[in-house]
């Protein structure tokens, strides 16, 4: 005859096991949903109806500090901002591949890209700083390129986790910025200037070095590479 207290203990333990199993299953479901959401934020797979085409990626190399344009066949969305975001997500994803010349951690990097027509007005929210002033007005005169009619400002909103985990140093941070600016230059002829935000807010540096408070004029990455090579001699 099994004592009563042992029967009670058995059923209590059985109930506890059942509850723990249910909690575990729910936790697995939540983790899967979280991973699925992250995948959706960085759509590496292009939409089915997107037209394919050749894009130019300005790829950085830590070994010689150079930027080189390479061609890739990628299907991209038609809408310009989404197209820019997907293109830059593809660029950063290339750096997470094994044997990358400019290794970066994998994960979501580009939150959004906004393409704003120049000149900016003070009412343009995305181009304004915290005090509500035109962001270009707060910039050093020498760093602001005179814009041509029909030009655009690209505002690249980076994920905070990407900035926080980016390799720290003048060279790696500068190369990442040059790579993004060069890729926009090569694929979006109307883009003349680029600004960076992190999680929707201005941030002083990418990860302690490269200045993110300024507006970057777009530049031909191949020209920058030649300049560097000449200075090396």
């Amino acid at each position: 005859m099994i004592p009563r207290y042992q029967r009670i203990l058995f059923w209590v333990l059985a109930a506890a096991i059942l509850v723990m199993a249910l909690v575990l299953l729910r936790g697995c479901e939540q983790a899967r949903e979280k991973l699925t959401r992250q995948r959706n934020e960085t759509p590496l797979a292009a939409p089915v109806d997107a037209p394919g085409g050749t894009v130019h990626l300005a790829m950085a190399s830590d070994a010689d500090g150079s930027i080189t344009l390479v061609d890739r066949e990628v299907a991209l969305p038609v809408e310009a901002s989404t197209r820019a975001r997907t293109l830059l997500a593809r660029l950063i994803a290339e750096y997470s591949y094994k044997n990358s010349a400019h290794p970066l951690e994998s994960g979501p990097a580009i939150d959004d890209v906004f393409l704003l027509d120049l000149p900016l007005h003070t009412s343009t929210a995305a181009g304004s700083n915290a005090s509500g002033q035109d962001s270009s007005a707060a910039l050093p005169a020498a760093t602001v390129e005179p814009h041509q009619p029909g030009g655009q400002l690209a505002v690249v909103n980076l994920h905070g986790s990407f900035a926080d985990h980016h390799p720290s140093g003048v060279e790696p941070e500068t190369l990442t910025i040059q790579s993004i600016v060069g890729t926009l230059y090569a694929n979006f002829p109307r883009v003349q200037q680029v600004r960076f935000l992190v999680d929707g807010h201005p941030r002083e540096t990418l990860n302690g070095h490269a200045d993110l408070t300024r507006t970057y004029p777009v530049a031909n990455p191949s020209t920058q590479t030649i300049q560097t090579a000449q200075e090396d001699r």
Partner: protein, 209 residues
């Protein structure tokens, strides 16, 4: 301008650790150690050296204050020191500012007000010549060097020929940036280049008189 004066700015400090270069090795400590070695080499070569920090203060001076220290010194060269675990050799950077059409960085124009964020513009040409000298000296010492331009504070705020020197590991030899012998080699090469830079400035000054 004080032809014999060099300003060294070991970047980071205090709670700003900079890059992590190894197990409990932070960039702020490496830049400070390298600045001490470079100061010794420069002093031995007859330079007067001003450091923007010579310890690890709990409340370090912000970027603008360090630039102000350098600008008040009227140095013949300002060198901002960094270190990284990425790349190889020594990286030399100058400001990304566009130089003016005419070289206005002369004694006569020293008191013309200039915007703080583009103060370096008048000195960009000199900074690039200095970077070329440093690059050649490092190459002469068989140290790999990469020269370029970087959006880095406080380079744009300095009113002197200014470069940023970033130490990276010697990948081919597996030498880390913390290696004292490696730092001494770099310090020696930089000192030689700065001595040449000073002599060129003095001879140009003598020719002008």
């Amino acid at each position: 301008m004080a032809r014999n004066l060099v300003v060294l700015d070991p970047a980071h400090g205090g709670p700003d650790l900079g890059a992590t270069l190894g197990d409990r090795v932070f960039e702020k400590d490496v830049t400070l150690a390298f600045a001490a070695r470079l100061r010794t080499a420069l002093t031995a070569a007859g330079f007067t050296v001003v450091l923007t920090r010579d310890a690890d203060p709990a409340d370090p001076a912000p970027s603008d204050d360090r630039a102000e220290i350098a600008n008040r010194a009227h140095a013949t060269a300002c060198v901002v020191l960094h270190a990284t675990a990425t790349g190889s050799g020594v990286h030399i950077y100058t400001s990304t500012l566009t130089p003016p059409l005419e070289d206005t960085a002369s004694e006569d124009s020293a008191f013309i007000p200039t915007p703080w964020d583009s103060a370096q513009a008048a000195y960009v040409r000199q900074s690039r010549r200095l970077a070329a000298n440093l690059s050649s000296a490092l190459a002469g010492s068989s140290l790999p060097a990469i020269a370029g331009q970087a959006p880095l504070r406080p380079l744009d705020n300095l009113t002197c020929p200014a470069v940023a020197i970033e130490l990276a590991p010697l990948q081919s030899a597996g030498t880390p940036v913390t290696d004292a012998a490696y730092q001494l080699r770099v310090a020696g090469a930089l000192t030689g280049a700065l001595r040449t830079w000073r002599d060129q400035a003095l001879s140009a000054q003598g020719a002008a008189q």
